[in-house]
């Protein structure tokens, strides 16, 4: 059943040690972690802002200062016409333009409604929404102050409380999901390449005339990459806790066990790809294609709840969707196995499916 397993295993380890391409794949998780952890920050702060102040007195300057004080706005400078304001936004230099009309102070003093125009670049919806909220809130609080009403005097006191990620840091959202993406990326790419490389170089043909068994060949190829994928998961978890300060609320053991469970369908996808791809170029394209839905539809970047129905249904067919639920559940919400049972069962089913498919597809002869 597993004839030749040890021989393949030992050989594979030598390949990994000597192949520069493998080392490059091993570096991908670290690069991605730093990219998603640091560079991609959806927390909106310091949005570049220009001011067109027609009022020009102490009152309007105080208003501008109050905008800046919210920390959402970063003052780039003043503009002196509507056209200049427009072009600052069109060119992308500024995302917000605040226009204070000449009668701002006069209206305030005379107890009339004073107007302030906030022009927002809506092309980045997250930023636009954040800016919209904070400018409206600023107007609301300032109005209350002018009316002489303290916020405590309002009839209804809405008190939102954010569980699990109190500071709403995007790292807490991205990094746990990233573990799933990295694990899948590394295992799918490495297993697909490990088999396709042999096909491309003709060494598979040589292997197939030996008495090596199908089980020994596949398992000997899979085990090293399972270990690597698992090692990378642990590494990324450590970086997440100690570098990004995202604590693991739930059981680390459960997290690792379920990660192993996720490895099975991921490795299976790798083998299935290798049975279709004739060369490494094709394997690369197919692996990327297989990553795309996991990347976009699993809830890694975009919340699944806001997807159109069809796409939402498709997202159920992606193993990463369930693993991401597990990751965020355990890491952020401290969920236990009772809450994640469904996801675990689905992952196991996916594992079975892809392993069966790869066993069917992988033939011990050519063409």
């Amino acid at each position: 059943m597993f004839r030749g397993l040890w021989a393949i295993l030992r050989k594979e380890i030598i390949h990994i040690k000597r192949d520069p391409a493998t080392r490059f794949v091993l570096a991908i998780p670290l690069i991605e972690l730093l990219l998603f952890g640091y560079a991609i920050d959806t927390d909106v702060k310091n949005v570049p802002t220009v001011v067109f102040d027609l009022n020009r007195d102490a009152e309007s300057r105080r208003l501008i200062q109050e905008f800046v004080n919210t920390r959402y706005f970063k003052l780039l400078g003043e503009v002196h016409s509507d056209q200049e304001l427009q072009s600052a936004i069109i060119s992308g230099r500024a995302k917000v333009g605040i226009k204070i009309p000449p009668d701002y102070t006069a209206n305030l003093v005379n107890g009339r409604r004073a107007q302030v125009q906030v022009i927002i670049d809506g092309s980045e919806s997250t930023t636009a929404l954040q800016v919209l909220n904070s400018s409206q809130q600023l107007g609301f609080l300032k109005s209350l102050a002018i009316q002489g009403i303290a916020p405590e005097q309002l009839s209804i006191d809405v008190r939102p409380r954010l569980l699990f990620n109190p500071n709403l840091q995007s790292a807490n959202f991205f990094v746990p999901g990233l573990i799933g993406i990295i694990l899948q990326l590394v295992t799918v790419f490495l297993t697909a390449f490990a088999i396709v490389r042999e096909r491309e170089r003709g060494t598979l043909e040589q292997l197939l005339v030996t008495p090596v068994s199908k089980g020994g060949l596949i398992l000997g190829k899979l085990l090293p990459y399972t270990v690597i994928g698992f090692g990378q998961t642990v590494l990324v978890l450590l970086l997440m806790v100690f570098l990004f300060g995202v604590p693991i609320q739930g059981s680390v053991t459960l997290l690792l066990v379920l990660s192993l469970l996720f490895l099975i369908p991921a490795l299976g996808i790798g083998i299935v790809i290798s049975t279709f791809a004739q060369n490494q170029g094709q394997a690369m394209q197919m692996s990327l294609m297989s990553m795309l839905p996991s990347f976009l539809l699993s809830g890694f970047v975009f919340p699944r709840e806001s997807m159109p129905l069809l796409i939402y249904l498709i997202s159920f067919l992606i193993p990463a969707t369930y693993y991401l639920e597990i990751l965020r559940g355990i890491i952020l919400r401290g969920a236990g196995i009772a809450a994640l049972w469904d996801e675990a069962v689905v992952l196991a089913a996916f594992g079975l499916f892809f392993m069966l498919l790869s066993a069917l597809r992988f033939k011990k002869h050519l063409g």
């Binding site: 004839r3 030749g4 040890w6 021989a7 393949i8 030992r10 050989k11 030598i14 390949h15 000597r18 192949d19 170089r201 003709g202 060494t203 043909e205 040589q206 292997l207 197939l208 005339v209 030996t210 008495p211 090596v212 011990k364 002869h365 050519l366 063409g367």
Partner: protein, 317 residues
């Protein structure tokens, strides 16, 4: 002599293309069987079917009495295979490659040490054990490939163009090695494009456009009636001006066919033509250096003639 390789009506199609068309032959133990034919004629496909790498669409084949389709796994223990391209691991050293195949064939540690010594000595790989396979020369790559395919003492070894693209000295050395193996009773199935190699085989088969056109000992093939039909003769014609010779000969009324053979031209001429008459014809034309003598057909003449006849038949139909 016992038959170890037996093919009956073996056929393989790839989509609309028939790669091997009803090929039958028998090969005895200890033979060096030379398998010849132009590129794409189906040589490698036959080998791959015999090794269990491809499944035939029709016909059957047996190796040592085992069916190549149903008893593939048993057959794999009996055969060695050296494919057309170097198909060992280039990033592994010579020693690592040998040890890997030893382990794949499940050789016990004690057997392995002895077998490794034997094949390393046989293939002349001493002193290169630590070298990465990628850095070996073409000839040494072939020796390593051969060493790996011999580790488990196979009864039958398939060699697909073992000497393609390597220098004459390395070629000679590979053949010395093959003769040693054959002398020990191993059956060798070798494909080649070199006529001198074909001459060394105990028997040769010639495949063209998926069909096996001839099979037999080299000298028997040269005596085949279709090679020298109706009392025609083969002549070797040489001249200082060999480039003019070929078109002139082809124009000559009694010459059926002519092909370049080394520095001379081999011509097949009709019954009744003799060397002196041919020579005289050229002397008359003003070429005094021309020399003409009757020769037996070479293997190349045999294959070229068979190919031409097959092509003419295909056109005639």
């Amino acid at each position: 002599m016992s038959v170890v390789i037996k093919a009956e009506g073996l056929s393989k199609r790839f989509g609309a293309l028939t790669a091997v068309d009803s090929v039958s032959f028998e090969i005895d133990a200890g033979e060096i069987f030379g398998f010849l034919g132009p590129n794409g004629s189906g040589k490698s496909t036959v080998i791959r079917m015999l090794c269990g790498l491809l499944q035939p669409n029709a016909g059957r084949a047996e190796l040592a009495g085992l069916d190549v389709v149903t008893q593939t796994e048993e057959i794999k223990k009996l055969i060695g295979y050296m494919s057309q391209r170097f198909s060992l691991y280039e990033d592994l050293t010579v020693e690592e490659n040998i040890d890997f195949y030893g382990a794949i064939y499940g050789l016990a540690k004690t057997d392995m040490a002895a077998r490794r010594r034997t094949v390393v000595e046989l293939a002349g790989l001493e002193g290169r054990m630590e070298q990465a396979a990628a850095t070996l020369s073409g000839g040494y790559k072939q020796r390593l490939a051969l060493a790996c395919s011999l580790l488990h003492e196979p009864k039958i070894v398939f060699l697909d163009e073992p000497t393609a693209g390597i220098d004459p000295v390395a070629r000679r050395e590979i053949w010395d090695l093959l003769f040693r193996l054959a002398a020990e009773g191993t059956t060798l199935f070798v494909t080649t494009h070199y006529m001198d190699e074909a001459e060394r085989c105990s028997r040769v088969g010639y495949i063209y456009l998926a069909k096996l056109l001839a099979i037999g000992r080299p000298q028997d093939l040269k005596g085949l009636p279709e090679i020298t039909p109706d009392g025609s003769h083969w002549f070797e014609v040489s001249s200082d001006d060999a480039t003019r010779l070929l078109p002139e000969l082809r124009r000559h009324p009694s010459v059926i066919d002519a092909t370049i053979f080394g520095e001379a031209v081999h011509a097949l001429a009709r019954r009744g033509t003799d060397a002196a008459a041919l020579e005289g014809y050229f002397r008359q034309q003003g070429d005094v250096s021309v020399q003409c003598r009757a020769v037996p057909p070479s293997l190349e003449d045999v294959f070229v003639t068979l190919t031409r006849q097959q092509r003419d038949d295909a056109k005639g139909r």
